[in-house]
């Protein structure tokens, strides 16, 4: 009996002992998708033919490369990452039918490790949103309760993993888009340090904030996947040439002596009391395991949302300008001239949230407004990053809620975009500072998961993985999850 939720090590063991083959895993994945995805709607498309072929190709590597946990195991890609020959839409109408001639470096590295792409999963259009309701195709549902959103923008990735359709998936995180859906779906989501994983092949939303990372069933799985995708890539000039730590080796199961920072700004007003209580219990648990809790302050945090919603849309307005109907994707019919082709194509091709952010960003960069908006936002970004750097002089990691609120029902999000933007308050500052952070499930409240966020210093993924893994091993969540799914990762 295959259960993807038992984690990558269990799958590797079963493969190596000949209990299952990569073909079995692919079939199990496709079958689970077939059974469940009519409700969950995580997948935009499956690549069953390609996956079955890959399964045959990688079969030999399963036994010959014992160190390689990912060999022969399927995965899903958020549909804003390119894969040669596989349609990549960013859940937008404007890229309908677009088939890239190149593969994202992260996906390429998974393939190199013997991974098998099962298909592409849903997202908020161009990764803009926190519910996956902004997809131009359909909304994804939360596997814990299909009336609830899975979070976003990597909602398809989180839902696919939570529902046991794939053992892991890649997401992208610009303002919380890996961590928040992981939190909503009760799985682990890791946003690496900016520059830790190559962005080549990730369709840019906000280049200075975007980062690819894994969504998995366990912290150990996140460490395994990160090990495979991290590291310098000559095709991304913003990818850091910093040595990659032994992330799996870092999982010592011990937090004794570690200093854990707790920021009042991330535990106070605006945080749902049920979330705060769950996170406080997690902090207490870490303390009982030998960690020291240190109160810290992040004084500029209240400016983070405003800062983000100037920088990200500004970059997006330029990054998304290439979708003009000239070379690929959707082109509006019946345009009289060049200008009308552009405006008709972009008016019909983009959804409302994308258009809102393009307009916002265009305005922020306009002559006469640049200094007042974009430039000041960059200055504030520096101050926010400095807040964190000062905190890390006293602490090893910072813990906070991943989301200030519990998952909410589909269609329940406010009509006021600014209210929706505020629910990213716990995750956005981390992207602005370029730091690594992980969301690990810490509780179930009213049948819905709550995530604990652990934020690390630059390129110190090893420490947040160590803390998250230790926490996970002692967390009450494992039992709650077992009650829900009847299985366990540990």
């Amino acid at each position: 009996m295959i259960d993807f939720r038992k984690g990558l090590r269990a799958l590797q063991k079963a493969l190596q002992q000949g209990e299952v083959t990569p073909q079995d895993l692919v079939l199990h994945s496709l079958t689970t998708i077939e059974e469940q995805d009519s409700v969950i709607q995580a997948f935009l498309r499956t690549e069953s033919h390609v996956a079955k072929q890959r399964a045959q190709v990688v079969t030999s590597t399963v036994t010959t490369r014992e160190d390689n946990v990912l060999a022969g195991i399927p995965y899903a890609l958020k549909d804003n990452m390119c894969y040669e020959g596989v349609e990549t839409t960013c859940a937008s109408k404007i890229l309908a039918g677009y088939i890239p001639p190149h593969t994202a470096t992260a996906a390429h590295r998974l393939d190199h490790a013997g991974g098998i792409l099962i298909g592409k999963v849903n997202l908020d259009e161009f990764a803009m949103g926190s519910t996956t309701e902004n997809s131009a195709y359909f909304s994804t549902h939360n596997p814990w309760h299909p009336d609830y959103v899975p979070g976003g923008s990597s909602g398809g990735s989180a839902a696919a993993v939570a529902a046991g359709m794939v053992p892991y998936a890649l997401g992208s995180d610009t303002g919380g888009s890996i961590r928040q859906p992981a939190s909503f779906c009760g799985v682990v989501g890791l946003k690496p340090t900016y520059g830790r994983v190559s962005r080549f092949g990730l369709v840019s939303y906000a280049s200075s904030l975007d980062q690819i990372g894994p969504i998995t069933n366990s912290v150990e799985d996140a460490a395994i996947v990160l090990s495979a995708i991290a590291g310098f890539d000559e095709r991304d000039a913003t990818c850091a040439n910093v040595p990659v730590d032994d992330y799996v080796g870092a999982l010592t199961g011990d937090v004794k002596g570690l200093r854990i920072g707790v920021a009042a700004e991330l535990m106070g007003e605006g945080i749902d009391e049920r979330v705060r209580n769950a996170v406080q219990k997690a902090i207490d648990l870490l303390q009982s395991l030998g960690a020291t809790v240190v109160p810290i302050h992040l004084p500029h945090l209240s400016y983070a949302i405003a800062t983000y919603y100037l920088i990200a849309p500004a970059e997006a307005s330029s990054n998304l300008a290439r979708f003009d109907g000239v070379r690929y994707g959707y082109r509006a019919p019946q345009a009289d001239n060049l200008l009308s082709m552009y405006s008709k194509t972009r008016s019909a091709g983009f959804g409302d949230e994308v258009k809102r952010r393009i307009l916002l960003g265009t305005y922020a960069l306009s002559s006469g407004y640049y200094d007042a908006y974009y430039k000041r936002a960059q200055q504030m970004r520096t101050l926010i990053a400095q807040d964190f750097q000062q905190a890390y002089e006293h602490v090893d990691v910072i813990v906070a809620p991943t989301s200030p609120v519990l998952p909410f029902r589909l269609g329940e999000a406010s009509d006021d975009p600014v209210t929706n933007y505020l629910i990213d308050i716990c995750t956005i500052p981390v992207n602005l500072a370029g730091l690594p952070a992980i969301s690990v499930p810490c509780d179930v409240v009213e049948g819905l998961p709550v995530g604990l966020q652990i934020i690390g210093n630059m390129f110190d993924e090893a420490t947040i993985l160590r803390v998250a893994d230790t926490y996970e091993k002692h967390s009450p969540f494992a039992a709650l999850r077992e009650a829900k799914w009847g299985g366990a990762a540990q």
């Binding site: 804003n80 990452m81 390119c82 990549t88 960013c90 890229l95 677009y98 890239p100 001639p101 190149h102 994202a104 962005r199 080549f200 092949g201 990730l202 369709v203 840019s204 906000a206 280049s207 200075s208 000559e234 095709r235 991304d236 000039a237 913003t238 500004a314 970059e315 307005s317 330029s318 300008a321 290439r322 979708f323 003009d324 000239v326 070379r327 690929y328 060049l338 552009y342 265009t362 960069l365 306009s366 002559s367 640049y370 974009y374």
Partner: protein, 476 residues
């Protein structure tokens, strides 16, 4: 004229890298449309630019050669605009932190040196090329050019005549070629020039309203376009009209400029730092290497040719227009006793030959040593000037050494009196009238006798020896 002309040039120079500035596509000119493209330069979703260090190196060399203050810490910005020639809908350029600023070049106007300020030199990528169908049924984009590295060189408004503008442009071209930054072929678009021109009453400090002139695709047309525009503005001002700020296109067929768009149509390019590219940090070692690669520049070379070889300013100017020509001359001059003679032969017969064959001087098949040997053979009387012309042509045709040609064709000058005496006697015998004239003191008459001697010897007789011999025979 009661108005003073003020001109500033914006020059785009394609850097001579093998591959494009942010991807590895080939940069060579003339390939079939859209054959030198890849997902990166085509701006496919998800691709990222990575700087070609060679483009930075050439850009830095150019900035240094133009006497700029260079930035060792600069950045790329995005210039946003929608147009089909721009696949990303933005051009990666440099906005407020160019790699070079406050430079200058010197030009020589009517024998006087004039310094032209350079405001800035910045790196950027080229756009694609739109080809509009002559049948009006569409426009076609060729992306081969997109992503070819460029530098933009912006001058101060220090130029005062269209001629100065041309001289400045020629100087820029020569410097870029000397530094091997670019081939600067205007006909292939690897050197392009836009001009800002305005007029103001003499003595007035404030600038007049300027027009920007585009599409001047040769040195000659830069001068023509500016001359036309100068006259157009002068006439308008004289009539009391107001000049409007606008962009005008030079029309080669009519030699005039035509309004393209006004100031109100100016774009807001929404420049901002490109978040896909890290800051451009240049190390001291990199900068030193760039500096060391800059050769002696044309102005310094011209000066040295005049000093060291005693060349007139004109010769020194012509010989230094191209680095190859200058180095060819330099190598020759060091091996001859009369550099001016070498200059004459080089500027005259050699350049005429290359022009006639439609080749650039770089294609010459003769080495400086072979060329110096030829000059030496003329000087020591082995061959006459006339024969030398034949030998030189054979050298240029075949690349053979002059001595080999002379031997093969038996062209050695006959200076031996004994060998010439018999022929001279025969000529004297056949031309009694001319001999009589000589005897009567008509010195010029000897010319026709010398001519016949040359004809008899197929030009090989040494004219000076023949002259003396004939005089001796007739007058003795």
């Amino acid at each position: 004229m009661t108005y003073e002309t003020v001109i500033g040039l914006e020059v785009h120079v394609e850097l001579g890298t093998k591959s494009k500035i942010f991807c590895s596509c080939d940069t060579s000119f003339g390939a079939p449309p859209n054959s030198h493209v890849c997902p990166v330069c085509m701006g496919s979703p998800g691709v990222l630019p990575v700087l070609n260090e060679e483009a930075l190196r050439l850009g830095m060399k150019a900035a240094l050669a133009l006497n700029c203050q260079v930035r060792t810490d600069s950045k790329f910005d995005r210039k946003n605009y929608f147009y089909p020639d721009s696949p990303k809908a933005y051009q990666i350029s440099q906005y407020d932190e160019p790699i070079g600023e406050q430079g200058y070049v010197e030009i020589e106007v009517n024998g006087e040196k004039k310094r032209i300020g350079i405001t800035r030199v910045h790196l950027e990528e080229d756009a694609g090329k739109l080809n509009h169908s002559p049948f009006g049924d569409g426009s076609f984009v060729d992306f081969n050019r997109v992503g070819i590295p460029l530098i933009e060189i912006v001058s101060e408004p220090d130029l005062r005549t269209p001629e100065e503008a041309r001289l400045y442009l020629e100087q820029i071209k020569a410097i870029m070629q000397y530094c091997e930054v670019s081939e600067c072929k205007m006909e292939e678009g690897s050197l392009r020039c836009d001009a800002n021109i305005s007029l103001r009453p003499y003595g007035q400090e404030a600038f007049g309203t300027k027009a920007e002139i585009k599409n001047m695709n040769s040195f000659r047309n830069v001068e023509r376009g500016l001359e036309f525009e100068q006259q157009r503005q002068e006439k308008a001002l004289t009539r009391g009209e107001v000049i409007v700020q606008e962009t005008r296109r030079f029309d080669e067929a009519t030699g005039s400029t035509i309004s393209m768009r006004g100031k109100e149509d100016a774009h807001d390019y929404r420049y901002f730092p490109d978040p896909d590219l890290p800051r451009i940090i240049v190390s001291d070692a990199f900068l030193t290497a760039c500096q060391e690669e800059i050769p002696e520049l044309p102005a310094a070379k011209r000066e040295r040719f005049m000093q060291a070889y005693g060349l007139p300013a004109y010769d020194a100017g012509v010989l230094t227009t191209s680095r190859f020509l200058a180095e060819f001359f330099d190598a020759t001059a060091q091996q001859v006793s009369d550099p001016k003679a070498a200059s004459n032969w080089l500027m005259g017969d050699v350049l005429a030959y290359m022009n006639a064959s439609g080749e650039s001087i770089e294609a010459i098949r003769v080495t400086p040593t072979q060329f110096a040997d030829l000059i030496g053979l003329i000087e020591d009387g082995t061959i006459s000037t006339k024969i030398a012309k034949t030998v030189l042509k054979t050298m240029l045709d075949s690349g053979k050494a002059p001595k080999q040609i002379i031997e093969e064709q038996g062209l050695v000058q006959i200076s031996d009196v004994d060998a010439l005496t018999a022929i001279a006697k025969a000529v004297i015998e056949r031309n009694p009238a001319a001999v009589q004239d000589v005897l009567e003191g008509k010195e010029k008459a000897i010319g026709s006798l010398v001519g016949q001697m040359m004809k008899e010897t197929k030009g090989k007789a040494n004219p000076a020896v023949v002259n003396q011999l004939l005089k001796d025979l007739i007058l003795s």
